[in-house]
């Protein structure tokens, strides 16, 4: 992450002195790393789809104009007025004398465009007023309300929220949950519209989280916890584990090691372009393993869940999938066998981090502290996910099941090369 983050350090890491004063309030992209990863990376390690072009000059041109203008405050004040959820409790107007009612200095979009859109918005708003009245309840929230973005599904997240709000009566968590792709699109849209809306992000894989960190959106704080160092960085902590295991349909011989999987029959694997768990496996098992699979006629589907469904249904004889998904299907009665092949199931951790621009840092930290605590981990374990705190009970897992941990920081850099090798084998 050296070259990639070099620019961020100049803006993002000095956030108390520069970023917070200038752009932190803006809750928009604070660091230049976002654009540097796109067009400016003279010293960058070979990371994802690195573009060879770009000079320092083009970087400056490509940056959103607001990062070059020192007038974010007026904007952030205007915005918070428009959105009750993000509105700070105390607005200190004395600190922002430049925030006059007509100060449209902050020009990410042209002034006329902003006005034009505002006009059309009112038109639409008027047209749809009746509907609004009918279905759009009050969005005002109590003081301790934080917004959580996650890709963890309802089965896990709902019990966690219920328990947390039960034990912390003053706290309230507004949830936005979507599959990883949708979540990424939402975050990317947020930062281009009015800044990240989430106070806390609970992602499903370290790659996605690392990208958020590289963009200067989250990180900078982790709680005191006993969660092992293998699943944490200075910016985020892994709070739930996923294990990529092998499944076979009834009557098919279970593979003792990953290298036996190819010969298990018609095999399905999840797409490493889509699922981070599959990318972790690709990084760990290497392209040769996949070439072997391909030779024996394996096919690639989308997500691990699709593999589970396909194998359970009999479309495929065997496959690689997530342990939770496999055990859930097995428990319901699907005719599948779950194996943890040697050298081990590939472990992927779901990390949590707080927003760098949150206005409710304490409430956000409280929530993160809770889910990393023994209590929180116990709830996660009983809700059907594997906790990361070693001695907390989770869902079914064979005793002494072998597990391997991919090197995620290396994977971030090798992603493009790995996927290219993979594309040669499986095509797209």
């Amino acid at each position: 992450m050296t070259g990639r983050c070099s620019f961020r350090f100049t803006l993002g890491d000095a956030r108390t002195s520069i970023a917070d004063e200038v752009c932190g309030k803006c809750r928009r992209l604070t660091g230049g790393s976002f654009h540097s990863s796109l067009s400016y990376s003279p010293t960058a390690a070979p990371n994802a789809k690195q573009r060879p072009t770009g000079s320092p000059g083009s970087r400056t041109l490509n940056r959103p104009r607001h990062l070059r203008t020192p007038s974010c405050r007026a904007r952030s004040r205007r915005r918070s007025r428009g959105n009750a959820v993000n509105r700070p409790l105390v607005e200190d107007s004395s600190q922002t004398p430049e925030a006059g009612p007509n100060s449209e200095q902050h020009k990410y979009y042209g002034d006329d465009m902003v006005r034009g859109r505002r006009g059309t918005i009112w038109l639409v708003a008027l047209l749809q007023l009746s509907l609004l009245a009918a279905c759009n309840g009050s969005t005002a929230s109590p003081a301790q309300s934080i917004t959580l973005y996650t890709c963890v599904n309802d089965t896990t997240i709902q019990p966690v929220l219920t328990q947390y709000q039960g034990t912390h009566p003053a706290a309230k968590v507004e949830l936005f949950r979507a599959p990883t792709g949708q979540l990424n699109a939402r975050v990317a849209s947020d930062i281009r519209a009015s800044g990240l809306k989430a106070d806390v992000i609970w992602a499903c894989d370290p790659l996605t989280m690392q990208d958020y960190v590289a963009q200067g959106l989250v990180g900078g704080w982790t709680p005191e916890t006993e969660i092992p160092a293998t699943v944490r960085t200075p910016d985020y902590v892994g709070i739930a584990m996923l294990y990529l295991v092998a499944i076979t349909r009834e009557g098919v011989k279970a593979p003792a090691s990953w290298s036996d999987l190819a010969r298990a029959g018609k095999v399905a694997i999840p797409d490493p372009n889509v699922a981070a768990s599959a990318l972790g496996a690709l990084g760990f098992l290497g392209p040769k393993f996949y070439a072997d699979l391909r030779e024996y006629g394996a096919v690639q589907v989308g997500t691990p869940d699709e593999v589970t469904t396909g194998v359970a249904q009999g479309t495929y004889d065997a496959g690689m999938t997530i342990a939770n998904s496999a055990y859930a299907a097995q428990k319901k009665g699907s005719p599948i066998t779950v194996t943890w092949p040697k050298p081990g199931a590939v472990a992927i951790y779901g990390p949590i981090a707080i927003s760098k621009t949150t206005k409710k840092a304490q409430a956000a930290k409280d929530f993160v502290s809770y889910v990393t605590s023994r209590d929180g981990q116990t709830v996660i374990g009983s809700a059907g996910s594997y906790p990361t705190l070693p001695d907390v009970a989770g869902p079914e897992k064979p005793k002494a099941a072998p597990v391997v941990y991919p090197d995620w920081s290396a994977l971030t850099d090798q992603k493009a090369a790995l996927l290219e090798d993979y594309a040669k084998i499986f095509g797209r």
Binding site: K49, T139, G181, A188, D190, A214, V299, Q300, Q313
Partner: protein, 542 residues
């Protein structure tokens, strides 16, 4: 049709304002984003591995699906015009069935029906090995587009009816083929063109079917690339590439639709008034038997077996266990029917109602303006949002309107309106150009204001088209998931969002139950609606 200049002006203003809000601004936002952040990288996107094949696959798929869907849809519409066809009313409803099921559920249901270890393999020992691959994808996408083509052609038949010419040709000794070639097809040309354009655009933007059925054979399209760009990691590069690919789809659509509009648009419109008589001549008994059998077979293959497989998945406790009464369960339905889904269901119904109702106004407006230059540009514009994958369109709205409207139902409604405007417009445009302008004039001359004239002369004539457009939009909006799952916020979850939040793409049981539920919710009122609309479908003469 001639309205007062003021009315035309007002209509045009309203239509253009809506187009600005629903189409131009989100597109502008996307273009701006890709320009500001991705400028100079277009070459990299184009030269990235697999790009060429994805574009080629998208084109092949759209062409194949259009070539399959249009003849089938036309054939069904023509077959079902025979008033003495046994079970005609039933066939007419049954053809629409695939629209009731969300795309990705439909893909699974086909796999469950025809794939390895599927329904047919259990029952008859037949498994269609090529279903996973280009052929399967094309067939399923085409089967999904047939209801649309059918609706547009049927509306065209109902509003452009000239059975007299057909009778005359028959009486003069022309065989069925000659009648078809010299009378029916020229008569239906505008409807066929419209349907072909829509089928092409829909196939171009199809995502779930290529993802679920095509991916195992390495058949990736532009839309599946967009999905992959957004799914893995969150680097801005992937995001911008996704937007650029989506814009590429828009450019392709722009070219295809503009071409179709300029080549066909003016030429296909006639000013002649349609006959009100929709009693088509009937065919011989043998033909009727053949047609009925063919219809039954077609529906069995494209809807019956897949939906049966879906139903069986919804009531079976786990995937892969035989669907015997021992293994039946209501768990999947109970998982779908929670208090939370109750609210979400209400919200979804309301949203779909609102969207469909606004859409038939917008669709009629665009169709009515189709004659003038501004109107024709409008009809091209509104097709662009149909081809944009839901995720990208939603991104456009979030960036454009998010700061004011994020987390409200309004932004979801706007997204539905934008996505489905073309679906509402195309059936209407296939119907409006043969409106009896004389009757409208007569009404105006006799002192009726424009609203009265529209209500008493135009609306009754356009009822089949209005109903078709309304139903299509309502059903599609009811189970829309991609845009809703990106745009919702606390208090604005739709039904599909709530159900999918407990089950990812790939988990079939609960989503199958959702589809069955949505189908039930829709089929009952839908059937009632169909009965009400029957006055336009004349009963056979005894």
């Amino acid at each position: 049709m001639r309205f007062g200049r003021a009315w035309v002006g007002a209509g045009l203003c309203l239509a253009l304002a809506s187009a600005a809000v629903l189409v131009v601004i989100p597109l502008a936002v996307l273009i701006k984003t890709s320009w500001v952040e991705g400028r100079g990288h277009l070459a990299d996107v184009i030269s990235s591995p697999g790009f060429g094949s994805a574009v080629a696959h998208s084109f092949e798929l759209s062409a194949a699906a259009t070539l399959l869907a249009v003849p089938v849809g036309v054939a069904i519409a023509l077959a079902l015009r025979d008033p003495r066809l046994p079970g005609r009313a039933f066939w007419r409803v049954a053809v629409i069935l695939p629209v009731l099921v969300p795309d990705f559920v439909l893909s699974y249901s086909w796999l469950m029906a025809y794939g390895r270890a599927g329904l047919t393999s259990e029952l008859f020992g037949f498994a269609w090995t090529h279903i996973q691959g280009p052929i399967g994808v094309s067939v399923i996408v085409a089967a999904n587009a047939v209801p649309l083509v059918y609706l547009i052609i049927a509306v065209g038949l109902a509003t452009r009816a000239e059975p007299i010419t057909e009778r005359a040709a028959r009486a003069s000794g022309a065989g069925p083929a000659t009648v078809l070639w010299t009378i029916m097809l020229p008569l239906l040309a505008p409807a066929i063109a419209t349907a072909a354009v829509l089928a092409f655009v829909l196939s171009m933007g199809a995502f779930a079917i290529p993802q679920v059925v095509g991916a195992p054979a390495g058949f990736g399209t532009i839309t599946t690339r967009i999905y992959a760009d957004l799914a893995l990691g969150s680097n801005p590069e992937g995001f911008v590439e996704a937007i650029m690919l989506a814009l590429l789809l828009v450019v392709v659509t722009l070219i295809v639709v503009t071409l179709a509009e300029t080549v066909l648009g003016g030429r296909l419109q006639t000013g002649r008034t349609a006959a009100r008589d929709t009693d088509w001549p009937t065919s011989s008994r043998i033909t009727r038997v053949i047609v009925t059998t063919a219809m039954a077979l077609y529906l069995m293959i494209t809807s019956g077996l897949p939906l049966l497989a879906l139903l069986s998945a919804a009531i079976t406790r786990a995937i892969g266990v035989p669907s015997t009464p021992d293994n039946w369960t209501t768990d999947n339905f109970l998982a779908v029917l929670t208090p939370r889904t109750g609210y979400a269901l209400g919200r979804s119904l309301l949203l779909a109602l609102a969207a469909a109702s606004v859409l038939i106004v917008l669709g009629s407006l665009a169709a009515a303006l189709g004659r003038i230059r501004g109107g024709r540009i409008l009809s091209v514009l509104i097709t662009l949002t149909l081809v944009l994958p839901g995720s990208t369109l939603a991104v456009g709205f979030l960036i454009g309107y998010g700061r004011w409207l994020a987390d409200t139902v309004v932004i979801i409604l706007i997204a539905y309106l934008a996505k489905l405007w073309a679906l509402a417009h195309r059936p209407m445009s296939a119907a409006v150009d043969r409106l009896p302008s004389a009757s409208l004039h007569a009404a105006r001359v006799s002192g009726a204001g424009l609203p009265t004239a529209l209500a008493t002369v135009v609306v009754p004539l356009l009822r089949p088209a209005l109903l078709a457009a309304w139903g299509l939009c309502f059903l599609t909006a009811l189970h829309e998931v991609t845009m809703s799952s990106l745009l919702y916020g606390p208090g604005s979850e739709t039904l599909a969002v709530v159900v999918l939040n407990s089950a990812e793409l790939g988990n079939v049981g609960a989503t199958a139950a959702l589809s069955v539920l949505v189908t039930a919710i829709v089929v009952l009122p839908g059937a009632a609606l169909w009965v009400l609309s029957r006055p336009t479908a004349h009963r056979p003469r005894a």
